[in-house]
């Protein structure tokens, strides 16, 4: 179903491929009992309808991502992008549809339980412990783990070398881009199989944004699936294996990132020409 060679950004020169870290998934052996076969996506929010209690925000919305793939949700303001992702993570109630991870139905699980199942989530704001050091942030990310975390921490430091230099500094003193790295690093500490990012580049400069996207690609190369909501639609679709354009809580366009970028309709309506 997914073609790994069809990654949006194949220009190796802008990614740091030398001594690239390998992030091992936490549950390499998990899943086979319910696995629906090789055809099903790794994580899918299927036909989700629901909201925060009042009127429905999502209407029959489907989001899925495959192993090692980057899926990006874009759309205009108020389209329900973040809501769709939070629904996949269990932060709001959906009354119709289901969420399946590796074939297993996890619709009824709490966000915390989903973390235990191998999902990592990076909220858009307040995504770090500002009063704690970078290292402590990473430790807290691995709170549910009882085994030795030094290996994983080493991998995160290799992925984000700046964090190693700043590991004794309170995370609140870092710059916006560094904070986002801490936030992603914290989520990686559980060794998730899926990493969900809510607008990771909100409020950072274009240069930092490019760097963050590079890192995200690196994470995906280690076999971790990425599901991401992005305001910067064009840049995000460039690195996306799969793109979802949501409008008013509904799927409007779904295709590979490349195809969406090429689609004149999408370009005109959502990418500013």
């Amino acid at each position: 179903m997914s073609d790994y060679s069809d990654r949006g950004n194949k220009d190796a020169s802008i990614t740091r491929t030398d001594n690239m870290p390998t992030l091992t998934p936490a549950h390499p052996e998990s899943g086979p009992s319910h696995y629906v076969g090789s055809g099903g996506p790794f994580l899918i929010g299927d036909g989700m309808t629901g909201g925060y209690g009042g009127a429905d925000i999502l209407h029959d919305c489907t989001i899925s991502v495959d192993k090692g793939e980057i899926a990006v949700i874009v759309g205009p303001n108020g389209a329900g992008k973040s809501t769709a992702m939070k629904a996949v993570f269990g932060m709001l109630n959906i009354h119709t549809g289901s969420v399946r991870l590796n074939g297993e139905d996890i619709t009824a699980l709490s966000p915390q339980a989903r973390v235990n199942k191998g999902m990592g989530f990076v909220p858009q704001t307040n995504n770090i412990f500002t009063s704690m050091t970078v290292e402590e942030n990473l430790e807290m990310g691995a709170f549910i783990r009882r085994d030795d975390i030094s290996q994983t921490m080493e991998q995160v430091y290799e992925l984000f070398p700046i964090l190693r230099d700043k590991r004794r500094q309170p995370a609140g003193e870092l710059s916006g881009g560094q904070r986002q790295q801490v936030a992603v690093g914290r989520a990686l500490m559980t060794q998730p199989q899926v990493l969900m990012l809510d607008e990771p580049t909100a409020g950072v400069s274009p240069i930092v944004m490019d760097e963050l996207f590079d890192r995200i690609i690196e994470v995906a190369r280690t076999g971790i699936s990425i599901l991401m909501v992005e305001q910067n639609a064009r840049q995000a679709l460039e690195i996306a294996d799969k793109g979802y354009v949501l409008v008013q809580g509904r799927n409007r366009y779904t295709d590979t990132g490349k195809a969406l970028l090429a689609d004149p309709e999408v370009r005109k309506s959502f990418l500013g020409g």
Partner: protein
């Protein structure tokens, strides 16, 4: 010589008492600030919780004394302290289960917690008075002085005596140990770090798999330890009277706010600021000034800025100044 005498008097009447009192306030304020940081409300039952916890210690002390067990030159109350802490911790956790947990699940506004703590205050207050009564209780024993004024005078030949009471020495040493242990716990242990994480960012802590009920329970245990230690030290150093402990609420809260609510370092700094100000403003400086100035200039009055009966005014004024100048406190607490 006169200068030395003045120095000794300063040490005797200002520095030692203020340091002991500051340690007691700091321990009390740490309890308030932890509750504020983790459970996010100002606990008005803290003063009466201290009184109740100290009551457990006193009753245990009496029991030990009756059984003929003593701690040598140290007060028996120190032996009773762990039992008092355990009982108080159980009581605090039971209170949390019965009262606060419900509002936590409801995500009630902080002020509702505060009102609930008023109800808890009534209950603790009644229990204390019902069991031990409203009057002064004595429970200090052991050696009274580390250095007595007479010994000091004989040893140094100075006119001014220096008395260093055991209770003051124990207060300072215990406070240092407790604070060091607390900071070690908060900064070095997994549970301590998870408490800080919870206080820093509750949602993210939940997302990281930190169990809020466990954090809250550990917090109450620590708060019980701090409150009972503070209360026992205060009782040994001054006297035990339940109403006095209620009145301590004001300087304790002032310490916590002055230092920055929710910030443990601030609570300690605040405790000492309040204690030193209180002692210095209400101390009659006549003696020290007389030593220092030529005889003809010796003051007639007491050279006291404020009578001791107004010591609460000192905490209050410092509190108001900090609220006006820097509402987040000296060490930037969580509150605005």
């Amino acid at each position: 010589m006169d200068f030395l005498n003045a120095l000794v008097a300063l040490l005797n009447f200002v520095i030692i008492p203020a340091t002991a009192y500051g340690s007691q306030l700091a321990l009390g304020a740490l309890g308030v600030t932890l509750i504020y940081g983790i459970l996010r409300f100002s606990n008005f039952a803290h003063g009466d919780g201290m009184a109740l916890g100290t009551m457990f210690v006193i009753l245990t002390t009496w029991g030990l004394q009756a059984a003929g067990i003593s701690f040598g030159p140290l007060p028996t109350a120190l032996l009773a302290l762990p039992i008092g802490i355990a009982l108080t911790a159980l009581l605090f956790i039971a209170t949390d289960r019965a009262v606060y947990r419900f509002y936590r699940r409801q995500k009630a506004a902080p002020v509702i917690f505060v009102i609930a703590s008023l109800g808890v205050m009534f209950v603790y207050n009644a229990l204390t008075r019902f069991i031990i009564g409203p009057d002064d209780q004595r429970f200090a024993d052991g050696e009274r002085f580390i250095i007595s004024a007479r010994d000091f005078r004989e040893a140094t030949g100075l006119a001014e005596g220096l008395a260093f009471r055991t209770s003051q020495g124990i207060t300072i040493v215990t406070a240092i140990i407790v604070v060091a242990a607390l900071f070690w716990f908060l900064n070095k242990t997994r549970t301590g770090k998870s408490m800080r994480a919870f206080s820093d960012n509750e949602d993210l802590a939940l997302l990281s798999g930190i169990n809020p009920e466990r954090v809250v329970m550990v917090t109450w245990i620590i708060v019980a330890a701090l409150a009972v230690t503070a209360g026992t030290l205060y009782g040994l150093d001054k006297s035990y009277r339940p109403f006095t402990y209620f009145q301590l609420l004001l300087p304790i809260f002032a310490s916590a706010i002055v230092g920055g609510l929710g910030n443990p370092l601030g609570a300690i700094a605040g405790g000492f600021i309040i204690a030193y100000s209180e002692v210095m403003v209400t101390y009659a400086w006549k003696k020290i000034v007389t030593y220092l100035v030529p005889e003809t200039m010796a003051p007639e009055g007491l050279v006291q800025l404020l009578g001791t009966e107004y010591k609460f005014a000192v905490s209050f004024v410092i509190l108001i100044i900090v609220l006006l100048v820097r509402p987040t406190g000296i060490f930037r607490g969580k509150a605005v």
